[in-house]
Amino acid sequence: MITRREFFKGGIAAFTVGFAAPEFLSDLARAQGSSSRNLVVLDLTGGNDGLSLLVPYTDPFYVSRRPTLAIPAGTVLQVGTDSSGKALGLHPRLTGLKEIFNQGRLAIIQRAGYQNSSRSHFSGTDIWSTANPPNTQGSGWMGRYLSTLKAPLDPLAAWTATGDTPHALQASGVAVAAVPSVAGYAFNSPNTGNELALERTAAANIASHVPIDQPHVAFVGASVQAAMATIDRVAAVGKYKPSVVYPNNGFGLALQAIAGAMATGIGTKVFFLQTGGFDTHASQDTTGANGAYVKLMGTLNDGLMAFFDDLKNTGLLGDTLLLSFSEFGRRITENGSKGTDHGAASPMLAIGGLVRGGQLYGTAASLNPDPSNPTLENNGADVHFETDFRSVYAKVIDNWLGGDSVAVLGGNFKKAGLDFV
C-alpha cells in the first residue's frame, strides 16, 4: 500500500524548480515580458464534441447519424464554407464567437489531432500536454517553451487558473503560479501588523533553504518561495476593474483574473485555464433551452465574449492569443443514451487581435460511414485528423511567441498554409 509520504513524493524528484530572487523580479518581468505578447491556452476538458461546436449541417449523413442530437440547419450560425466547399455553422449559442469571427479575430482549425488518436482522457490529455505521443510522461510543451527563455525565469512567467500545475506547463526549472483564486492567493497569519510581517519574512527565509539531498523537500520549498515572491503582484491583479461584466462562474472569473494580470503588466507570458463538463456520454441535448451542451456552449461563449471585449476596450487584444484544445472529439454516431462517446479529431479555436480569423482552416470531414472514407477512422466511427495539433503549436511558438518550435517540440511540425497567426 502506498504511504502518504510516497504519495506526495511521487513524481516530484523528476522536476526541479529554479527562479529568480525576489529583488530581481520586477526587472525580469519587464525583460521577459518586453514583447508584451502572451498566450492563453484553454483546455476544454472531457473531450469536446466538435461536430456540435462547428456543425456540418449540410452533410447528408449528419442527421442520420445523429437523429436526436443534430442541430437544425436553420438555427446554426453560418460561417461560410471551407476550402472543400462544405458549409459549416457554429452552435446557435455561440453568438459571441460568431461576432468575433465576423470581426476576423476568430480562426477555426478543423480536424486537429494526431495519428492513432487515444480515446483515453488521461492519455489524450498527456499527449496534447506533452506534444509527444510516444512519450507522454515527460515535460509539457508550454513548460519546455518557458525553459527556453533566458534564466532565471520570473515565477509569474506562467499562470494557471487551476489549483494544480497542469502537465502542459510542467518542465524542469520552470515555476508556475497556480492561482485558482486571486483573493485566495495570499499569506494569512494568526497575527496582524508587525507580527504578521515577521512571520512572512520567516516563512520566506525557511523556504529559501534548499536541501540538495532531498529533492522533494526542495521542490516544495521552491514552490513556497515562488508563492511568497509573487503574492504582492497577484494581489495587485485583484484590484483590476474590468471594462465589462464577466459571467459569475469559474470560467468567467478565471478569464477576468487573466485579463487583470495582463492589464496589471505583471509580465506573465503564458496562461492556462480549463472549463469542463464536455464528457457528454448521455443526455447531451444540443438544442434544448437547458440542454447540457447548450449550457457548455453558453459558458464558453459568454466567458470568451467578455474576455474579448474587455481586452479590446483596454487595448490588450493585439497582444493576446487564446488557443483552445480538447483531449479528443467525440464519436460521430450518437449512442443509445442520447450522448456521444470518445472520438478523435476536433476543431481548435484561435482568438486574438492579430489572428487571421474570419475563416476556416482545413476541411471538414465527410460523415459518410463507409470504412474507406479517408476523412474518418475506426471504420467510419471517428473524425480523422487533418492537421497535426503540433503544427498548430509550432505556428504559435514560432510566429506568436518568437520561439523555436523545432527545439520545443522535438521535430519540425511546421505546416504550410496554417497561417492563422
Partner: protein, 136 residues
Amino acid sequence: MKETGWTGFSLGSTLSPLISMGQQLFEPPDVAGWSLGQDWFSTGAMLTRMNFASALASNQKFRLATAAAGAKQSPQALVNYMLSRLTAADVSGAVYNDLLAYASAVTTWTGSDAQLQAKTPGLAHLILGSAEYQFL
C-alpha cells in the same frame, strides 16, 4: 488538526481549503483519481496549505499558548517545545535558526501571555507550513 487541537474549529471550515488543495473528499478531479506528487504542491496549493495552518493556529491560539506556558522561559525553549509538539521532521539548522529568529523578534522577551499568544500560533503556522512538514 490532531497536533494543534481543533476544539471549536468547525469541520465545515476544512471543506473549502480541501477543495483548494485538490483534496476534496470523495471527489477526485477525474476518473483517474487524485494526481501524485507535484500536483499537490503548486504555489496556490501551498499557500492554501499554509493558510489552512494559519486558520487552525489562529483558532487554537489561546490553547496553544496555555499549553506552551511551561516553555516560556526563552524563545529557544518555545521553539523546542513547538517542534516537539508538532512532531516536525528533522529540520535543518538553518530552518531552526529561522524559527528562533522569529520567536526572538521582540523588544524584550518576557514570556508574557501576550507574547505566547502571538509567537505560539506563529510558530505553529510556520512549522505546519514548512516544506519538511508536508512529508510527515
